[in-house]
């Protein structure tokens, strides 16, 4: 740790063991306090660490504060983004430049006390790839509690992965987890789900929430809608990313089939029974269903084409370990 102090924070010298990534939005707690707390709590468990503050275009005042902070704490590195990119991208950028093998992501408004971190790091040491905090018992009551629980419950139902607190950003993981999973938009919430689906070992650790800290602005009317859309993204990405036609094709073919059946019925009435069908709403419905069916199915085919042309960049699997016949040495083959 002493060496760490005298070291310049940017990539020179030995790499720290852990990197704490704090994406900085418009709202944050006392950062100096967080840094002091981190030093007190983390040094015994991980040894050397760095703090990467990703300043997500927060404005001049914050910029000043953060600059002062990095002067005060040598372990603090600051990445300033020139335009607002959102928490997920900020996290991904932070992870890219992280040098530690253990990544710790924090939110800057401290939903979970920093002093709980050793518990999470401990589980990682037990062989987990990803450990995340589950605030329990929850502080929120009423509508926002319902929305939060509902969000988690729907995500659980969609993915069959038993997660309980996707909205808590306090997570501890091995670096490769973050490197392996692309995060953008609002997808950082779903990191545990993507990681679990890629086969990483994960667990939740119940931590008491900080008293009086509620989710900030999380559940206004607009965020309800965007959360719902996030869940739709999740459902789609989780199941159909490599096979868009399995979804679009099914929807399209069903719609097309119903449209064609109605159309055939109308044609029968027109040709055989000689009834007028031009004024029938059913005709409009048949046209609509046929058009929608072909549209959806052809977009699915387009999706397949896109996947095919990029298939080599999208790895389907994660390798746990490999025994190589050619270069095999005892050191390499043990786990």
């Amino acid at each position: 740790m002493e060496q760490q102090m005298s070291m310049r924070p940017w990539p020179t010298g030995t790499a720290p063991h852990a990197s704490v990534i704090i994406p900085l939005g418009p709202r944050y707690e006392d950062l100096a306090e967080i840094c002091r707390e981190l030093g007190r709590v983390l040094t015994p468990v991980v040894g050397s660490y760095e703090v990467i503050i990703v300043d997500d275009a927060t404005g001049p005042q914050t910029r000043q504060k953060v600059r002062a902070l990095s002067g005060q704490f040598p372990e603090v590195r600051v990445i300033r983004l020139n335009r607002y990119v959102g928490e997920a991208t900020a996290l991904a950028i932070g992870a890219q430049s992280a040098r530690g093998d253990i990544l710790i992501t924090l939110d800057p408004y401290l939903h979970v006390a920093v002093s709980e971190l050793p518990k999470l790091v401990g589980r990682l040491r037990d062989g987990m790839d990803l450990v995340f905090a589950w605030r329990f018992p929850r502080e929120e009551r009423g509508l926002s509690r319902l929305a939060s629980d509902g969000f988690n419950a729907i995500a659980r139902w969609l993915t069959k992965i038993p997660v309980h607190d996707l909205n808590c950003r306090v997570r501890v993981m091995r670096r490769e987890v973050m490197r392996d999973i692309p995060l953008y938009g609002d997808l950082h919430r779903f990191l545990p789900i993507f990681a679990a689906r890629r086969g990483y070992r994960w667990c939740e650790v119940q931590v008491p929430p900080q008293p009086g800290k509620r989710e900030v602005g999380a559940f206004d009317a607009r965020s309800y809608v965007s959360r719902l859309l996030d869940l739709l993204t999740l459902a789609f990405l989780a199941r159909f990313v490599k096979r868009p036609l399995h979804l679009f094709g099914l929807v399209g073919l069903v719609s097309l089939a119903i449209g064609l059946i109605i159309g055939a019925g109308l044609t029968y009435q027109k040709v055989v029974l000689d009834l007028a069908i031009g004024h029938r709403p059913m005709l409009l419905l048949a046209v609509l269903l046929i058009v929608v069916g072909i549209q959806v199915a052809s977009i699915g085919l387009l999706g397949e084409l896109m996947i095919f042309t990029h298939a080599r960049e999208l790895k389907d699997y994660v390798i746990e370990e490999s025994l190589d016949g050619n270069r095999s040495t005892p050191e390499e083959t043990h786990e």
Partner: protein, 314 residues
């Protein structure tokens, strides 16, 4: 031998819950390899087994340095395992086979010999299939016919895992989702010469078959995708635009008919016609746009379905 040569033949075997089979399979493979010249490697890809398969593979690796083993974090499916094994393979010839002892390693020398005749891919044909008639053979017969018709590569048996490839051909073919059964169609699309060869097929001794029938609908959508990739190749606008033109022609015919009514003595337009016109214009516009987007997609593509393979003459 002091320095290790690069292997000539890589055998890729995806295994999942095959603890009983792997050592027998390795034994059979080793017997074949010992009789053949050249350096071999056996790549076992353990697709997230939980029954001790990995420990068995570790033991094999200790005994035989030709054995390479890769273990997935969880079960990612046969295609993923195969594509990982193919990617890791170092041989000039890559042989893929099932890990359940239904394929016979003794067939490999013949297949490799066939490759030397100038073929790029040699596919096994299980002409005496040892499987249940109703649940395995009949669905696969129907699927084989359909795949042949849609993709234009006629084989008796697409589902047989025992295949031999020239490495440069198979390494260029993206393999993902559940595309292993269409791999022949995809490589043939790249201009590969495909041969078929009768191979032995033995009944399962251990474990249970890992396929089930209800997957059929997914396979049929995959088939549709492969058909599109084959038909589109480098000009998707011809496919989508062709449909668009047909639909537009129908709409135009209806428009002419409406015009006739309009200027004619009746002044009463049958209301079906405007419906068909709306349908036609809407759809043809949509299909045209999709075709253009597909062109855009190919123009920026990393892997094109028809990417011509510049084959190095052996």
């Amino acid at each position: 031998m002091t320095t290790r040569e690069l292997p000539g033949i890589s055998v890729v075997v995806p295994v999942y819950q095959e603890v009983d089979s792997v050592s027998k399979l390795h034994q059979a493979l080793a017997e074949v390899a010992d009789r053949m010249p050249g350096v071999w490697e056996f790549i076992f890809v353990d697709d997230g087994s939980r029954d001790g398969t990995w420990e068995a593979l570790m033991a094999l690796h200790q005994r035989d340095l030709r054995v390479r083993a890769i273990r997935f974090k969880r079960n990612f499916g046969q295609t993923a395992a195969m594509s990982c094994g193919i990617e890791q393979a170092r041989g000039k010839v890559i042989v893929t086979m099932d890990g359940d002892l239904q394929n016979d390693p003794a067939d490999i020398p013949q297949m490799v010999a066939k490759l030397d005749e100038g073929y790029d891919v040699v596919c096994g044909w299980r002409y005496q299939r040892q499987d249940k008639l109703l649940s395995r053979k009949i669905p696969s017969m129907v699927a084989n016919r359909l795949i042949g018709w849609l993709t234009g590569v006629t084989l008796h048996d697409y589902g047989c895992s025992l295949k031999a490839y020239r490495a440069d051909v198979i390494k260029r073919t993206p393999l993902y989702a559940e595309f292993h059964r269409f791999i022949t169609a995809l490589v043939a699309l790249n201009g590969a010469l495909v041969a078929e060869m009768k191979v032995n097929h033995r009944a399962r001794k251990f474990g249970r078959t890992k396929y089930n029938l209800w997957r059929t609908w997914r396979v049929s959508f995959d088939m549709l995708t492969v058909a599109m990739l084959v038909k589109c190749a480098s000009k998707p606008l011809r496919l989508f635009g062709g449909f668009a033109l047909v639909v537009a022609a129908v709409a135009a015919a209806c428009l002419v008919r409406v015009w006739e009514f309009y200027v004619g003595p009746y002044h009463h337009i049958p209301q079906v016609l405007p419906g068909v016109i709306v349908l036609g214009v809407w759809l043809s516009g949509h299909l045209l746009v999709i075709g253009l987007l597909a062109e855009l997609c190919l123009a920026t593509a990393h892997t094109r379905p028809d990417q011509l393979v510049a084959l190095e003459v052996p």
